[in-house]
């Protein structure tokens, strides 16, 4: 599904990603952990085409296409989704209008007819139920006045509406209480199929109790310094990152 080879990226003159290699296959759940400032959010932003980052080296292939040559909107049309750590409020643009535009743009890209209003409404109803998002949110402006939990549920709702293939959840657990966390995680799990993949970026094991990863990576200083099974997350929870960083730095000497 996704192959990242030797990815380097800058913010301004500062190099943040220093050679990332990652392979995500259909149906897999990857967790990316790492201390603050290690480049986790940069990686997700680069993958979805945020204009604030410059790729200086490397190659990313998504569903057989050269991802880095595509604008952000086309990456989305192909099935890439980023659940924002801080979902943006868009005053004056209603959820319904926003969602309908997004879906029909994707359908246009795929050469499909726009969704009929009744099909759209049916779809909204089904996907809302998935994350227990109240109907009233559809008439409100995107994320405006939503609580932290509502914003995150809204992200998963949009992920469901767009039926995306690869979803990156950037610290979706931050600012969520236990109940909201469970609802969000359940939503992600229900959307999971053998054809879709998830990259979970998180600081904490807690989210991984709900969304079980197949593979866990540790990102440090712009590189993946450790890749292992789900047991790694538990070990990190217990021991922190220091021992891993030390191991990595020793091996670099």
């Amino acid at each position: 599904m996704l192959t990242i080879e030797n990815l380097h990226a800058n913010v301004g003159d500062k190099e943040i990603l220093r050679g990332i290699n990652l392979q995500v296959n259909p149906g897999e759940v990857h967790a990316i952990m790492g201390p603050n400032g290690s480049g986790k959010s940069t990686m997700s932003n680069v993958l979805v085409g945020h204009p604030g980052y410059t790729v200086t080296e490397g190659k990313v292939t998504f569903l057989g296409r050269d991802l880095l040559s595509l604008p952000a909107e086309n990456r989305s049309h192909m099935g890439m989704f980023l659940s924002f750590q801080y979902p943006v409020e868009i005053p004056g643009v209603s959820m319904t209008n926003f969602m309908r535009t997004a879906i029909n743009e994707k359908r246009k890209f795929l050469g499909q007819e726009p969704l009929s209003p009744s099909d759209f409404l049916k779809m909204v109803k089904a996907k809302r139920d998935l994350v227990k998002l109240d109907a009233k949110f559809m008439n409100r402006a995107v994320n405006e006045g939503f609580s932290g939990g509502e914003k995150k549920r809204n992200e998963i709702f949009q992920m469901a509406m767009l039926e995306q293939k690869l979803s990156i959840l950037d610290e979706t657990d931050s600012g969520l209480d236990i109940d909201a966390l469970r609802i969000v995680a359940e939503g992600v799990n229900k959307l999971k199929t053998p054809e879709t993949s998830v990259i979970v970026i998180t600081h904490y094991q807690r989210l991984l109790d709900y969304i079980k990863p197949d593979i866990v990576h540790v990102l440090y200083h712009g590189r993946i310094i450790k890749t292992a099974g789900p047991e790694l997350a538990l070990e990190l929870e217990e021991r922190g990152y220091d021992w891993l960083i030390k191991e990595y730095e020793d091996s670099e000497k």
Binding site: A72, E73, E89, I90, G92, I103
Partner: protein, 421 residues
């Protein structure tokens, strides 16, 4: 005073012709208008006109077009529906023939000629105009639309005049649309006087859809009596250069005013909205919201003055002006002015000039909405806050559509509506 002299001379030389083409009520004000223009002049660079030199618009000698373009007697006609008994929608000439005392009582009473402006030159030259009168406690259910259509192969100056009187407890929705299909330069001055009686309700919307060669200098004077409610909305969709000056006096307690405006400009268009709200009595409210979206090398100005007089206690006033420059060369000036002399009041103002929200743009693109479309949605959303406040539903829907078309660049050419055929 060189520019003014072109017109004062023109008036003196052609006075007979000006008077002959018009009616007594209008003629009775011309001498005063001449003297006012000689004394106060056209606006040059006074503080209130810093970014719009209106006097320059008059520098080419526009001459007079009195005989060539006399307003037809049937040019005011009710096209759809009927009006309640006693309601008058008529030319000033006809109305003053039928009821001279009524027109005389109100004509040129609110328009302030004793300041640099266009009220004097308008009163000096205007040949006719529109008179709208709603008697006591009469409710006009259907909105009344007044269409100004400027179309001529000859460049010319027109001086429009509108007088609106709502007696006590009356209610009216008035939509004024300003159109021009002219490809050549045109100058329109427009003076609107509005009397709103005690407890009366007026919704007054103006929409400009003219061309790049059009110059519009409009002055609107509103007087509100006790417990009256006025909502005004001024929408500039396409234009050349525009100056709208709005003066509202809240003369008696309990009057409420909502004063809104939305502007879309591109190319080298210029729009200047000047508003002055005079809280002359206590317990009145005023709420102002103006928003601009400026593209290309267009320029905009907003000057909003709120005066709260010493005895106007319990005034509540809010003024907001928000602007987005979507290109690097677009310019916006904004000047909120609050003058407060009473101590028990609640007044606020805010003005911003900024760009589209980059975070929001990226968020939308991540969800598959292309950049151009995302920009469109953000600009529309920004302006909809103003259009959503319009209380005439059909107009609100129409404005939503027109704003969208305008932002997509589909409103710059003639829509072939058939109005000028």
């Amino acid at each position: 005073m060189q520019t003014e002299k072109i017109y004062t001379d023109l008036f003196v030389q052609n006075r007979q012709m000006v008077d002959d083409g018009s009616c007594q009520v209008l003629n009775s004000q011309r001498q005063q208008a001449l003297e006012a223009l000689e004394q106060y002049g056209l606006p040059v660079h006074q503080e209130e006109y810093l970014h719009t030199d209106v006097s320059q618009w008059f520098q080419p000698d526009w001459g007079l077009n009195i005989q060539r373009h006399k307003i037809q007697a049937d040019s005011v006609r009710i096209q759809h529906g009927t009006l309640p008994e006693g309601v008058v929608v008529e030319t000033l000439e006809k109305a003053s023939a039928q009821n001279p005392a009524l027109v005389e009582k109100y004509y040129n009473r609110l328009a302030d000629m004793k300041r640099p402006g266009i009220a004097a030159i308008n009163a000096m030259f205007c040949q006719d105009g529109v008179f709208i009168y709603v008697p006591k406690n009469t409710v006009v259910e259907q909105p009344v639309q007044l269409v100004s259509l400027l179309q001529s192969p000859v460049s010319m100056m027109v001086n429009r005049r509108i007088l609106v009187v709502l007696e006590q407890g009356a209610s009216l929705s008035l939509v004024m649309t300003d159109h021009s299909g002219a490809q050549n330069p045109m100058l329109a001055t427009q003076v609107t006087e509005v009397f709103v009686g005690a407890g009366a309700t007026l919704r007054l919307y103006e929409m400009e859809e003219t061309g790049v060669q059009n110059l519009r200098a409009a002055e609107t004077f509103v007087l509100q009596q006790a417990d009256s409610n006025v909502q005004m909305g001024c929408f500039t969709l396409t234009n050349g250069k525009t100056r709208n000056s709005t003066f509202v006096t809240l003369a008696e307690p309990g009057a409420n005013l909502q004063l809104d405006g939305a502007v879309v400009t591109d190319r080298n268009q210029h729009v200047d909205n000047f508003t002055s709200v005079d809280h002359k009595a206590g317990n009145c409210t005023s709420s102002e919201l103006y928003k601009y979206v400026l593209d290309d090398e267009s320029t905009g100005n907003f000057y909003g003055k709120v005066l709260v007089r010493p005895d106007s206690q319990h005034t509540a006033s809010a003024q907001t002006n928000r602007n987005i420059c979507v290109s690097k060369k677009a310019r916006m000036w904004t000047q909120p002015q609050l003058e407060i002399y009473a101590d028990d009041v609640k007044c606020s103002h805010g003005a911003t000039v900024g760009q589209l929200d980059e975070q929001a743009l990226f968020y939308m693109r991540q969800r598959g909405i292309p950049y151009v479309e995302a920009r469109m949605l953000l600009m529309q959303a920004f302006l909809n806050e103003v259009t959503d406040r319009v209380q005439v539903e059909l107009l609100r829907e129409r404005l939503h559509l027109l704003v969208e078309k305008r932002l997509r660049g589909e409103l710059n050419q003639c829509q072939n509506c058939g109005a000028c055929k």
